[in-house]
Symmetry: C2
Subunit: 486 residues, 2 copies
């Protein structure tokens, strides 16, 4: 009951009062099904979280070298006492070198763009990786890649009708950020039948459709290796995208956080920066993103990453640094972890052997699990998947029978989208409730009308993956059966 | 020269193409004068950075307990070897307890709202501090307080004309965020003659002016203890603000990051939450912010903090958590530092003595420096300051003669603002160039027309503060003299 008052009181803030763009934004990876999983877990159910690329939550071990350096930097007094003996000599050398180059330590705000020597180390890393020059002054250290991506959306969204080309399926960071910032989206479909490549006619089709709908396209986002697709783009595909972007005056957002996660035989990660350099392309603005959360570090909690820009005027880049400055700077543990990622132990260093062994174990394990999962799911009737070549995900297609009298082809596109979203959501919810496996419905990433998918990671321990496939099979068969009977 | 091309090429992104709101946003604390200071430093000049509350960059030591626990959590293997002897027993116990309550460790994404046991610890802290109940489910862990403040601006800004009442002078996070999100601002002046308190007629005046200008006010921001003013608000002033907010249907943003930094005799920090509880106020939405960057920890680089909300419907708070989820979660080192801030060693713990000693030294030092700086500056002719009662800043008023024939009173308000901003900027630039002291011009925070100020921290080591005052005096006298001669 409302108390009497002498004042005219406006109602307390209601949901309908708050930012309508935020209300619209939807981030499937942490959506309703994950909330339900947390509820079930609190009730004592064992949940296998395959909804998010969070390796250390699924028992992947951090790299010893990274954590040893971080520990010394948090508490440098360790180096001056007998506890120093617990650390390899190169770890102590490395920690001392960091303190010399960054004497303010872990507890001080850094420059807004990040600690200068780390920006140089990132430039060196790109030079070594790609054999091309890189400029430390065009590098910005961020709290994970997501914050870098959001910063670029903030930078480039200037007018109401500014829009972004995003892949379908996509990582929902993109759709959510576009909704949040009031920009427009232009969906282009990845080619499931062709290892999820981008194809040029589809890019042209979607762009034309976006423009005819009044959208002013400013950039195209590409995720390589792909999330949720697990695809690794070939060089010629990247060249095609660069030429497409140039033809239409678009900037490129290259989400390259899975660059270390390439498993397919004969495949390699090729960066947009490298192809641009090889093509002598000097006009298409490129923003590329990397992170400590993926690869073989899996240091999601440290929130570290960087953005490298090319073909961008300095005064425009300065606006990105100013944006960062309003929140001061990225966290120092994340910045240091980024540094250790781009400048790992070298041959001859005391830590080198263990580092390589741990790295190899993580990547070898992921490669094996991608295979086991992919082959296992492909053997289930009514399920199919491109066996992941990279990243940490499989985007699995599954078929469900329709109820008698239901004809999706007769629905409006919006009706159909809702009908199909309801179907994949219900499927994933039942899968969770019946098996404890938490995956994300395909509608959260987007999918071709007429298809249903879910995204699963292949991060659980290897010994659990076979059992997981078995459970999925049993569930799918019984779910389809029930649908047929109903 | 432009290369020939078969394509019609849109120009590369130019500054004029990018987000006009970002272009407009200005963050004085890291603005032009700080850039100039960095240039001078690179040329070998010794710079005393008084522009930003970054204690560990000015030789304040981190608390041993905090860093010991962080080191063990980054590299838990330390606890199982002989190096464990380097740590007090309660530090090891604490680290083990954290790992039990958060078994995923530092490298995993946490829940979007933060690690659950830390949210409970924050609620317990508020209960102990204020003697009032607090709900862990209304607490959100953030990457420093700035990110929390920005999240609330994102939440509450729904329409073009939504506006925020902000103090003048203010911390430029507020003005910059308002510009960035395209909201409107309503400036209310703090009462310099009355220890920078808020006064009710001025609040009413500014609100009426804002409304008559078409602004729809949604919230009022209050910084207590004050930045840049160094003032500590008395309880009755807080009660007045709550009643004012209720009368006008406003939410309150209470920036309480300096709550441990209270130095004035007989003064104490009083939280908005406590006064609201005492008044039985159940309708005014309150967002209060705290941080590990200030107080006596000074852990700016760790980027840790929290937001507590009151009188906010759960579905509205859920939107804040969703917003956080789009960037995944706050960094783990910052979350753990927040935990250690709200749950420090207790009497009987092995670390208690050292913790209290280090805490006392930092706070005692700040109190002494506030006095030395305040008294020293007040003794300079043409300079005056309210001796800081709290926070880490003095907002120093200074007078300059006008050139013959210049009459600011005859200018339009906009001309006058520009004239005065040019004057305090030039003054601070010359101060920097002649003494190496880097302070921020008052126009970056806002000031009453007809007055000039600069903000300085009192963070340099005590032995440097007296010399700093001496240098400022010499500079001021000579600057005024030159102005008189010109």
């Amino acid at each position: 009951m409302r108390r009497a008052s002498f004042y005219i009181i406006r109602d307390m803030i209601k949901l309908s009062d708050v930012n309508h763009r935020l209300q619209k934004a939807h981030y499937a990876v942490r959506g309703r099904i994950v909330q339900r999983a947390q509820e079930l877990e609190e009730q004592g159910r064992k949940i296998i979280y395959c909804n998010i690329g969070n390796p250390q939550a699924l028992r992947q071990k951090p790299l010893t070298f990274v954590r040893q350096v971080l520990a010394l930097l948090e508490y440098p007094e360790l180096m001056d006492g007998p506890a120093a003996a617990a650390f390899p000599a190169d770890v102590v050398r490395r920690a001392r070198a960091v303190m010399e180059k960054n004497p303010n330590g872990m507890g001080a705000y850094t420059q807004s763009a990040g600690i200068p020597f780390i920006r140089r180390a990132v430039a060196n890393f790109i030079e070594r990786r790609d054999g091309i020059p890189a400029d430390p002054n065009h590098i910005l250290l961020t709290d994970g890649a997501s914050k870098g991506v959001q910063a670029v959306f903030t930078l480039l969204t200037n007018r109401e009708n500014d829009g972004y080309m995003i892949p379908i399926p996509q990582y929902p960071l993109y759709s959510a950020t576009i909704d949040l910032y009031g920009a427009r989206r232009i969906d282009y479909y990845l080619d499931e039948a062709n290892r999820w490549e981008l194809n040029e006619p589809e890019l042209e089709r979607s762009l034309a459709e976006g423009k005819s709908g009044g959208v002013n396209p400013v950039a195209i986002a590409v995720i390589n290796p792909g999330n949720p697709t697990g695809a690794v783009l070939p060089r010629k595909n990247i060249g095609m995208i660069i030429r497409f972007a140039k033809r239409h005056g678009l900037a490129i957002l290259a989400d390259e956080v899975y660059q270390e996660n390439v498993y397919g035989e004969g495949l390699e990660f090729v960066s947009f920066a490298r192809v641009m350099h090889e093509l002598g392309e000097k006009e298409v603005p490129l923003f590329s993103f990397h992170s400590v959360s993926k690869g073989f570090l899996g240091e999601c909690g440290q929130r570290g990453g960087y953005m490298e820009v090319r073909n961008l005027p300095d005064d425009v880049f300065a606006e990105l640094i100013k944006l960062q400055s309003i929140g001061l700077c990225a966290n120092t543990a994340g910045q240091i972890t980024t540094y250790l990622m781009v400048d790992p132990p070298a041959p001859g260093d005391e830590s080198y052997g263990l580092y390589e062994k741990e790295k190899g174990a993580v990547l070898g394990d992921l490669k094996a699990k991608a295979e086991i999962l992919g082959r296992g799911l492909n053997a289930i009737e009514g399920m199919s998947v491109n066996i992941p070549e990279g990243a940490m995900y499989a985007f699995v297609r599954f078929d469900l029978p329709h109820a008698d009298g239901t004809d999706p082809a007769a629905m409006t596109p919006e009706e159909r989208r809702k009908y199909e979203a309801a179907r994949d959501n219900k499927y994933c919810l039942r899968l969770l409730e019946s098996t404890g496996i938490c995956v994300v419905p395909g509608s959260g990433f987007g999918q071709q009308p007429g298809t249903l998918h879910f995204r699963t990671t292949f991060l659980p321990p290897k010994e659990d993956i076979t059992a997981l496939v078995e459970k999925m099979k049993k569930f799918h068969v019984s779910y389809v059966e029930k649908l047929r009977e109903s």
